[in-house]
């Protein structure tokens, strides 16, 4: 049985039991992270750091809420842009997830870019 990698100190959740499970390795926003077999992606994210995503509406970071697939507050992405609901997704070896949307999915169109530069059309 492989020993799990030392847990970085920056996590939010705290493991209380069941720590003798095989380690898994994944990438979170490009950085290597570890989890234990049977962890949900949400738990892996909150062992690695203190947030799952950021609110689209400016009120800050989010770290899940209901853990039962009802609040829809824990959706993240894999590197191809595929959506993953962290609380109901099992960690698999080698998965690569992003907590911000991959930029290439919806390239900013010139009209929006112009508006953001302050060129408001009538």
């Amino acid at each position: 049985m492989t020993k799990p990698l030392p847990q970085p100190g920056g996590g939010r959740f705290v493991r209380l039991a069941e720590t003798a499970r095989p380690a898994l390795h994944l990438l979170i926003d490009g950085a290597p992270a570890s989890a234990l077999e049977g962890d949900t992606l949400l738990v892996a994210l909150l062992m690695h750091g203190r947030r799952v995503r950021s609110s689209e509406f400016g009120d800050g970071t989010r770290a899940g809420f209901c853990l039962m697939g009802a609040c829809q507050d824990c959706w993240v992405w894999d590197e191809t842009g595929r959506r993953l609901r962290a609380c109901s997704t099992a960690v698999t070896e080698g998965m690569a997830v992003r907590t911000t949307p991959p930029a290439s999915l919806w390239p900013v169109t010139p009209e929006v870019a112009a508006r953001e530069r302050g060129e408001v059309p009538r």
């Binding site: 509406f57 959706w75 595929r82 999915l105 919806w106 390239p107 169109t109 010139p110 059309p121």
Partner: protein, 388 residues
């Protein structure tokens, strides 16, 4: 607060959607006539509030372009006009297509509308993808109207209603009209709960429910209720400015979408769903939704990674010849109509309001609307006499 005695206005409007509320506003602002508007439930709640929100001129029948131009001028100053933000985003309206035959039709349309004051730009497949990198290889061409766009239909009707009210119009919600009678030269509307409203002129803007009122005045109109199939996604990073749609003769392919600044993408199009005007219910069919998702992915593959969070329908009135009913009655002086906009009334509604106000107040309008006259449906068989 109304009481049992009759109230008399210059103009009585029945139907509190965008056609009714815009007319009420302009009757007050431009012509100073007194106006009462009766809405069965809540202002702007039916087709006016459930439609896609396109503010577009290209793709319309040429007979509607002058009206659409007039409406576009109002949209350009609508926030100041109403003192509220209707989220009008004039960031373009883009139509794309899948076949060279359709591209040729788009090009013909560019030529057709140019003399009518609408300047469109054609894009080849390469140019499309260079400028808007979201399209799949299936898209072969596109046509852009650079200063058209979209606005928020949930907010528009109520905002026009409030503005009309501030301008002195009497707006009554929860006021279902049971019947309308002529008393001398006046019209008297009776609500189901016994109130009466009297006016010298009457405008019927009751959308999909208008045939009953027209019929009562001896003017039958073939009008059918259909349900738009609408959906909205989760919020995404704000990236897409124009309202975008597929131009195609195949109904189920005709999807369109627009992104709002909060990031959600609203979409609609394809086959219509069942709408029951009498029951005031309309439904989204699950197979329509799934087909829409397929057709959206077809021209914008990135939709595969987006979540749909809500669908809705509404009740729109469709005429047999795809042209609206707009203008004076062919039989009754002082009676006017504006309904049956075939699911594309939102964009032209401020123009309809200006035109109907002008017509009612002065007897004529500078914008050509003869093609929309209700008289075109009159048949040799006499309709029922005007009810008393």
């Amino acid at each position: 607060m109304t009481d049992a005695t009759q109230q008399r206005s210059d103009v009585l409007i029945i139907g509190g959607g965008l056609m009714g509320t815009t007319t009420a506003l302009f009757l007050r602002r431009h012509h100073g006539l007194s106006v009462t508007l009766l809405e069965r439930e809540l202002i702007g709640r039916q087709a006016s509030g459930t439609n896609f929100g396109n503010v577009r001129r290209q793709g319309r029948d040429l007979s509607q372009i002058p009206l659409a131009n007039r409406a576009r001028a109002v949209w350009g100053r609508v926030n100041e006009l109403l003192g509220e933000d209707l989220e009008f985003a004039p960031l373009g309206h883009l139509r794309v297509c899948y076949t060279e035959a359709q591209a040729a039709r788009l090009e013909q349309h560019v030529r057709d509308v140019q003399p009518l004051g609408l300047d469109l730009q054609m894009f080849s497949a390469d140019a499309l993808r260079k400028r808007w990198g979201i399209f799949s290889d299936t898209v072969v061409a596109g046509s852009l109207s650079p200063v058209d766009g979209h606005a928020n239909p949930r907010l528009a009707g109520p905002a026009f209603g409030r503005a009309a009210q501030r301008a002195g119009a009497h707006i009554h919600e929860h006021s279902e009209v049971a019947h309308i009678e002529r008393v001398g030269a006046d019209f008297v509307a009776h609500t189901v709960d016994g109130r009466q409203y009297r006016a010298g002129q009457l405008l019927v803007t009751t959308g999909a429910w208008s045939a009953r009122f027209a019929q009562a005045f001896g003017e039958a109109v073939p009008l059918e209720a259909r349900g738009p199939q609408m959906g909205v996604t989760e919020p995404l990073a704000y990236a897409i400015g124009p309202s975008i749609g597929v131009s195609t003769p195949i109904e189920e392919e005709g999807l369109y979408f627009r992104q709002i600044t909060r990031g959600n993408i609203v979409f609609g199009g394809g086959l219509k769903g069942p709408a029951f005007a009498d029951a005031i219910r309309a439904y989204v069919k699950p197979d329509n939704t799934l087909r829409q998702l397929r057709e959206l992915r077809r021209f914008v593959p990135a939709f595969a990674n987006v979540q749909l969070i809500r669908v809705w329908s509404g009740i729109e009135g469709y005429t047999a010849d795809w042209a609206p009913v707009m203008g004076p009655s062919a039989r009754v002086p002082g009676l006017h109509y504006a309904f049956g906009f075939n699911g594309e009334g939102f964009a032209i509604s401020p123009g309809v309001g200006e035109v109907m106000a002008e017509l009612i107040a002065t007897g004529s309008t500078s914008t050509p609307i003869d093609a929309f006259a209700i008289g075109r449906f009159a048949t040799a068989v006499q309709d029922q006499p005007i009810t008393t």
